[in-house]
């Protein structure tokens, strides 16, 4: 155990040394990787917020089917059964003309105007709730169309067009995420690869000597891997911090804006750190291959 600790401490020390030695290089690396990651982070932030809006809409998602006047009770029961039989439907609630009027009255706050109307102009309706997870825009559209085709239904109202648009936006945002993520990942990999290459070159003779004294290639690589990891983790953290600052600035105007969900945060860190590590691995593989075998 003590041995393991001492060895880890050694590798960490080695890596830190390279990290600290070439300050201007480390700074340049940090700036480039952080800048790239920020771009990605902002795209993710937009995605997170569209997702949020979409989720809220989902909660409220429901279909209201207004019933023609003078439909018989048995006909209504039949309609209700038909709706409830749809796979996507969770529940169907009946709202009578009177209840509708009462609700409307409440929402207006005891206004007198309505009483002046004499007769009740509001239709009875069914409020249809869809099952969670079945709530995507297309399913809703399908169910709404079915309900609209039932005899005795006057009109169907639902959040469809909006939800559809949002769903499409989300899909193209996902594509954008993948593209931007890939490009940013490439950039990060390239920059980190480069700093690792420099670190290796700066210790060329040292590596050759280690090899000849019996170091395995793992022993030689470990400090450089750590150094690459330092660079990427630092960049990811700084970018995340900056992103949070950007988020804070926005929330002062639009208090509803959310930060990255844990999942998106994970994606962000994965892309940043993953790309950095890939860059590190490939470079070490290239640079340490034969010359100092």
């Amino acid at each position: 155990m003590e041995k393991f600790l001492s060895r880890t401490r050694y590798f960490l020390g080695e890596a830190l040394q390279g990290f600290v030695r070439q300050k201007s290089l480390t700074a340049a690396t940090l700036v480039s990787t952080t800048a790239s990651l920020m771009v990605f982070g902002i795209v993710l932030l937009v995605t997170a917020n569209v997702e949020l809006v979409s989720a809220r809409l989902e909660q409220r998602k429901g279909i209201v089917a207004f019933i023609e006047d003078g439909v018989s009770n048995s006909q209504m029961d039949f309609m209700r059964q038909q709706m409830a039989a749809q796979a996507e439907v969770e529940s169907v609630a009946f709202v009578s003309k009177e209840e509708a009027l009462e609700q409307f009255r409440k929402s207006l706050g005891e206004d007198q105007v309505l009483d002046a109307l004499g007769s009740n102009p509001l239709p009875a309706s069914f409020e249809v709730k869809l099952k969670a997870g079945q709530g995507d825009a297309e399913a809703m559209e399908r169910v709404a169309a079915f309900i609209g085709s039932l005899k005795g239904i006057e009109e169907v109202s639902y959040g469809g067009p909006w939800a559809l648009r949002l769903d499409r936006l989300l899909k193209s945002l996902t594509v954008l995420n993948v593209i931007v993520g890939a490009v940013v990942g490439l950039a990060v990999a390239f920059v980190v690869a480069n700093v690792v290459r420099l670190a290796v070159l700066a210790r060329k003779e040292g590596i050759a000597i280690m090899r000849v004294v019996g170091a395995t290639s793992h022993f030689v690589r470990a400090p450089f891997l750590l150094e690459g990891l330092f660079h990427t983790i630092l960049s990811a953290l700084v970018a995340l911090g900056l992103l949070y600052a950007v988020h804070r600035v926005f929330t002062q105007r639009l208090p509803d804006i959310t930060f990255l969900s844990p999942t998106l945060m994970g994606v962000f860190i994965l892309v940043g750190v993953g790309a950095g590590m890939v860059g590190t691995f490939l470079t070490l593989h290239e640079v340490l291959r034969e010359e100092w075998a």
Partner: protein
């Protein structure tokens, strides 16, 4: 422990550095290889730690055989072989202490305090405890050579190779160094010392082989083995 069996080494460009070399060293034995510049001494030592492979023939060191050893096993061999290189090969941006500590760090056999003790012990044997924090470029040539020896012995190797270990040392310090090598050897380490200075083995009355243009001869006999 070490056995060369019809070893020939030809470098690119048809330069024959060793030709049909045969010898054998048991645990606790010491062999001096004496010969002029370019005779093949360093090449012979390189064969032992498998820094070069024979063009034909076979080198056996401990359980490792040159013909069959996979590349990934070479580090294991080297950890049991201490080498004083002719050009020292100290890492330039590490202190003397860290250079000597390197084999211990590589084999990972010792924790922090034990490591410190062993390194200081090795530096003490070559008389350089007080220079432990110096970088190689802050050491004189002879001091670097002694640090290289300390690194070679810090790990109690099974095999010790010393290439011209007194080339940069005056007679007094040189004799001390040879004495240290003999002590290590007396502890059971198979040892080969390459030198151009014939006086060294003569003085000690040790087994010596002469090498010239790649051919190894034991004086008072035909080719060795």
């Amino acid at each position: 422990m070490i056995r060369f069996f019809h070893v020939t080494k030809t470098y690119p460009g048809n330069r024959v550095a060793l030709s049909d070399v045969n010898f054998q060293i048991q645990q606790g034995e010491i062999l001096f290889v004496v010969g002029p510049s370019g005779a093949g001494k360093s090449t012979l030592l390189k064969m032992v730690y498998m820094g070069e492979m024979p063009t034909s023939g076979q080198v056996v060191v401990g359980g490792f055989v040159s013909n069959t050893i996979p590349r990934s096993k070479i580090p294991m061999l080297r950890r049991q072989v201490g080498v004083v290189f002719q050009d020292f090969r100290l890492i330039q941006d590490r202190t003397a202490f860290e250079n000597v500590a390197l084999p211990l760090r590589i084999s990972g056999t010792s924790g922090g305090t034990e490591l410190k003790q062993r390194v200081m012990n090795a530096l003490g044997r070559v008389g350089l405890c007080h220079r432990r924090s110096a970088l190689p470029r802050e050491l004189s040539g002879g001091e670097q050579q002694r640090v290289a020896l300390a690194r070679a012995i810090v790990n109690d190797p099974m095999v010790l190779l010393a290439d011209e270990p007194t080339g940069n040392l005056d007679a007094v310090v040189g004799d001390q160094i040879i004495q240290i090598i003999c002590d290590i050897n007396a502890g059971g380490t198979a040892t080969i010392v390459a030198t151009h200075n014939e006086a060294v083995p003569q003085k000690l009355g040790c087994r010596a082989a002469r090498i010239n243009e790649g051919r190894l001869f034991e004086p008072g006999g035909g080719p060795l083995f």
